[in-house]
């Protein structure tokens, strides 16, 4: 199996995998990351989302050959990446404003979709720092939640947007 150099959460990681291996499996099994989760393997639900060059990407349908040389950020490294961008030291207690908003608004129910939701929200606020309710709904429409936490997600995004402004 070939070797790939991946840039994950600010570090270069060397992994051995077939070129067609979806990024999700490599992140989860080779690199032992816990953020992205398998929800469908079809790119439909968003549970597996990671940031690739700041974009919300479905890691379950993205082969690792396609992300060589790109900056991959998972939920595991989101806070530290945020701190680094702000020039602040990162501790295990550091939280991205969205993570803090997610806690303050008590967003998770079962929690399974929340990796994808947070990644999707990071992408959204990157492109639209002050979204309206309707804009949030439309931007997040590609992420599925079965338990029904949508309203709390919307509130958390607005809360984080206000803090990040």
């Amino acid at each position: 199996m070939p070797r790939f150099q991946l840039n994950v959460n600010g570090q270069t990681q060397s992994v051995t995998a077939d070129a067609d291996t979806p990024l999700m499996y490599v992140l989860r099994n080779e690199l032992n990351l816990e953020g992205p989760l398998y929800g469908c393997g079809l790119g439909q639900c968003g549970s597996c989302s990671v940031l690739v060059d700041k974009q919300d990407v479905r890691s379950c349908v993205t082969p690792i050959s396609a992300v060589v040389g790109k900056a991959i950020t998972t939920l595991d490294g989101l806070a530290a990446t945020w701190a680094r961008e702000k020039g602040q030291p990162a501790t295990p207690e550091t939280l991205h404003p969205l993570q803090r908003a997610w806690i303050d608004e008590r967003v998770p129910q079962c929690g399974y979709c929340q990796n994808g939701m947070i990644i999707g929200a990071v992408d959204l606020l990157n492109k639209n720092p002050n979204p309206t309710d309707q804009e949030i709904r439309q931007a997040m429409n590609g992420h599925l939640c079965r338990c029904g936490t949508h309203l709390r997600i919307i509130r958390a995004i607005k809360r984080a947007a206000a803090e990040m402004a």
Binding site: D18, Y38, C45, R106, P108, G111, C145, G148, H150, I154
Partner: protein, 799 residues
């Protein structure tokens, strides 16, 4: 960070820090009482290997730092039970909420508490830990009494610290009093309840007077949230891994009514890289590989010949509503249950009066049919388990809702006795009733691990999770009713058709594949629910009947419990039909319901007037919170020419798990496309004491939204040979742009000093009817078949 935490290294012994001498036992009073009751410890569900429920130390341990560790056989189903339980324990122990850790669902440490489901967590299962906590507090006070040389009544306790009331300088923490040592207190176990198999412990310590609560009624945050949002949630099933673990995928037949003929090899001609082996067992086939993607590829590449039995499917989902009524031929050798009347004593107050006569002489007579289809669980996390089976012992991590029960199932498959099988619950996400005994990936993972002699993680694919799910039972209803000259209901007759429980498929999707897990046996009706969808009918009619038909399931899919599996469909039919009667009577829907609330017939052992006020209060509260202007339906513009029409509807359920709930929905109907948009819903909920208003509110809101999705979108599609749902495109669910605003209002009756159950189910029960009634109010169309797709709305508009 790797999550390689192997909790086999964590045993009860680890909690014993510093041996110390035996504590004085406090067992005599309770033990004497047990002896007086016959002397035998009650039969412990799960056999001898589960930690005994009659020993306090098996429920609670206190560390030297005062931290409290509680153990349960119950597990978290994704409805925030974990928060309420910690609060209840902290309350009874008088210890801070943050000091309590709850270890759930490990058969090595948690007493057998039966299955977690059917909203039994706060309603029943927690009572054991509640009582155990009260006993522990009493034991700690007695220890302090000895230490300080004063009688226990002269002590005060708060936040895990005991003081002499008259001299606060004399103080000791729980950690100082017992830290790390055993209580050695025996509890009186009153045995299992037949329906829920939960245990109640009845010791000598009284539980706290609710008027003295300091924790319950507050709103502490859920400590698991921080872990979840930072990718450190250690209990996530799918992130559990062991060193040297292999990966497995099942190769499932085209339908469960198939036999394995032969594994032919790989379509590509040779085993894919990383392939380890094919495991077969009866009709079960799985591939095992070194890494997960290799396992997926091997699964897709494996060529298997199946012998597909002729399936007695109904012709398809489009005709199931009618097929149910036609009593399709039974599967051979299975008893078909038809025309089952309610046995008096099982359900009260049905078949009263003379329905045929009342219908015949009615001023206004109505008849309508309703349909609730099969629906899928569709949890975001497909089923997954890790098993490590060795020569003499096995450990399985899986999302089962009944760990001790799972260990018995697995025992029959791998030939080890249950006491050598440790099952450890892990959280695979919202399951909504899917993973009951043996219905999760644990048994399959165990079989594969035993075969390959290595730890294995077995995961279901998304398409497998849909195709081989257990679907909620479908229902066809025929309602008949009448309104008298005064505008009151004079007759209310319900007839429904649904499936009996087929014991051959009762073990879940793999039961028929693992031969011998479930024996054949007579079919039996799934429980008959009183009209109204509550545990007791909410209303009182002079002439009333209920007739149920439980058919042999003649489609080869498997049915099981999905969130309010019986109450939701029945409440839908009942509350819609009542609404039709209200419209016929020209009455406001809420006022009409209040007029017919039960007031003279006993109410599940209670006098009706004991609960009458609570029943009325919930309807009045929703009326106020929804700013509901009394008037009959439909709205003024309903049959006008506007394209977009708005309306409101209401539905009510009394007494599911003793929670009362009234629900309104406001909808907008696009009469050109048939699309329904739910704009806002109000839930008025009376669950007795609200344990945690914030978390409780979240649970109600989430459950409501789940049910809106089911109401507008969800139906399992199938044809003559197979299930047709595979993914989120073929089984669409609600998305962000469709989500309504939800408002939750609590009724807090100061005379009620208990909490009820069902916050995760009772408010779901009424959602579908409220939306259907709102659609009628908006545009005059009665949609009687779930889901309310645009096609169905357009058809109802034309009718």
């Amino acid at each position: 960070m790797a999550n390689v935490k192997d909790d086999r290294t964590f045993t009860r012994r680890d909690l014993l820090k510093g041996g110390g001498a035996l504590i004085i036992t406090w067992s005599l009073p309770s033990f004497v009482r047990a002896a007086a009751q016959g002397g035998q410890a009650p039969a412990v569900p799960g056999g001898q290997w589960s930690p005994r429920p009659d020993l306090l130390d098996n429920w609670l341990r206190i560390g030297q730092d005062g931290s409290v560790t509680a153990f349960s056989g119950a597990i978290e189903t994704g409805q925030s039970k974990r928060v309420a339980w910690r609060m209840i324990i902290a309350e009874e122990l008088d210890t801070p909420f943050d000091s309590v850790t709850l270890v759930m669902g490990d058969t090595a440490t948690g007493p057998d508490q039966g299955n977690s489901g059917g909203s039994n967590g706060i309603y029943e299962q927690v009572e054991a830990l509640r009582q155990a906590s009260a006993e522990a507090r009493k034991a700690l006070l007695n220890l302090a009494a000895q230490r300080f040389g004063v009688p226990a009544p002269q002590l005060s306790v708060s936040n895990g610290v005991v003081t002499v009331t008259a001299n606060r300088a004399q103080r000791a923490t729980y950690g100082e009093l017992i830290g790390g040592r055993q209580f050695n207190v025996k509890l009186v176990v009153t045995g299992q309840r037949a329906s829920e198999m939960s245990l109640a412990t009845e010791g000598v310590a009284p539980v706290k007077d609710p008027r003295r609560y300091t924790v319950i009624g507050q709103s502490p945050m859920d400590p698991d949230h921080r872990e979840m949002v930072t990718a450190r949630y250690e209990k996530r099933m799918q992130n559990f891994r062991l060193p040297g673990m292999l990966h497995a995928r099942m190769v499932l037949p085209p339908n469960i009514n198939s036999k394995l003929v032969r594994v032919n090899g790989f379509k590509s001609g040779s085993p894919p890289p990383g392939f380890v082996k094919v495991v077969t067992r009866g009709d079960f086939v799985a591939v095992v590989a070194q890494d997960e993607w290799q396992a997926v590829k091997a699964m897709r590449d494996l060529d298997v010949t199946w012998s597909i039995k002729p399936i007695v499917f109904n012709s398809g989902h489009q005709t199931l509503k009618e097929d149910l009524k036609k009593h399709k031929p039974a599967v051979p050798d299975v008893t078909t249950v038809v025309d089952r009347r309610i046995v008096p004593g099982q359900v009260t107050d049905v078949n009263r009066g003379n329905v045929p006569a009342a219908l015949a002489s009615a001023a206004k007579r109505l008849e309508a049919e309703y349909y609730f289809p099969m629906q899928a669980h569709g949890g975001m996390g497909p089923d997954c388990a890790v098993a490590d089976v060795r020569a003499g012992e096995a450990t399985i991590w899986c999302p089962t809702s009944y760990p001790a029960g799972a260990s018995r199932i697995i025992s029959t498959l791998i030939g080890l006795p249950p006491e050598k099988i440790r099952v450890i619950w892990r959280d695979s996400g919202g399951q909504y009733g899917r993973f009951q005994t043996g219905e999760d990936a644990g048994p399959a993972a165990a079989v594969v691990s035993q075969d390959v002699g290595r730890p294995v993680r077995l995961s279901w694919m998304r398409e497998q999770d849909f195709e081989s799910d257990l679907f909620i039972y479908p229902y066809t209803f025929k309602m008949q009713g009448a309104v008298d000259a005064d505008g009151n209901v004079s007759a209310f007759a319900t007839e429904f058709w649904s499936f009996a429980i087929d014991p051959r498929t009762e073990g879940g999707p793999l039961a028929t594949i693992f031969a011998g897990v479930r024996e054949g046996g007579p079919m039996r009706p799934h429980s008959v629910i009183p009209v109204g969808g509550g545990d007791v009918n909410s209303y009182e009619f002079p002439n009333e009947s209920l007739l149920t038909h439980h058919l042999a399931p003649n489609i080869r899919v498997q049915n099981g419990g999905l969130r309010v599996p019986r109450h939701l469909p029945i409440n839908f039919a009942h509350e819609c039909f009542l609404d039709e009667l209200a419209a016929a009577a020209g009455a406001d829907p809420i006022e009409f319901r209040i007029r017919h609330i039960r007031r003279s017939i006993p109410f599940m052992g209670k006098q009706p007037m004991d609960v009458y006020d609570r029943t009325i209060a919930v309807l009045e509260k929703v009326r106020e919170a929804a700013r509901w202007q009394p008037r009959p339906a439909p709205a003024v513009g309903a049959r006008g020419g506007a394209r977009m029409r708005s309306g409101r509807g209401v539905a009510f359920v009394a007494n599911y798990k003793e929670t009362y709930c009234a629900t309104t929905a406001e909808v907008e109907v696009d009469t050109q496309t048939g699309r329904v948009r739910v704009m806002r819903m109000v839930q008025a909920v009376d669950p007795g004491i609200v344990i945690n208003k914030d978390v409780g509110r979240d649970v109600v809101e989430s459950g409501t939204l789940h049910t809106v999705s089911r109401t507008l979108h969800e139906e399992v599609q199938f044809d003559a040979t197979k299930v047709l749902i595979h993914d989120w495109a073929t089984y669409p669910i609600m998305r962000f742009t469709e989500v309504p605003e939800i408002e939750v209002v609590w009724i807090e009756d100061p005379t009620v000093h208990t909490w009820a159950g069902g916050l995760s189910e009772t408010p779901c029960t009424t959602v579908t009817a409220a939306i259907a009634n709102a659609i009628f109010d908006a545009c005059g169309a009665r949609v009687r078949d779930v889901p309310f797709t645009p096609q169905r709305v357009l058809a109802a508009l034309k009718a």
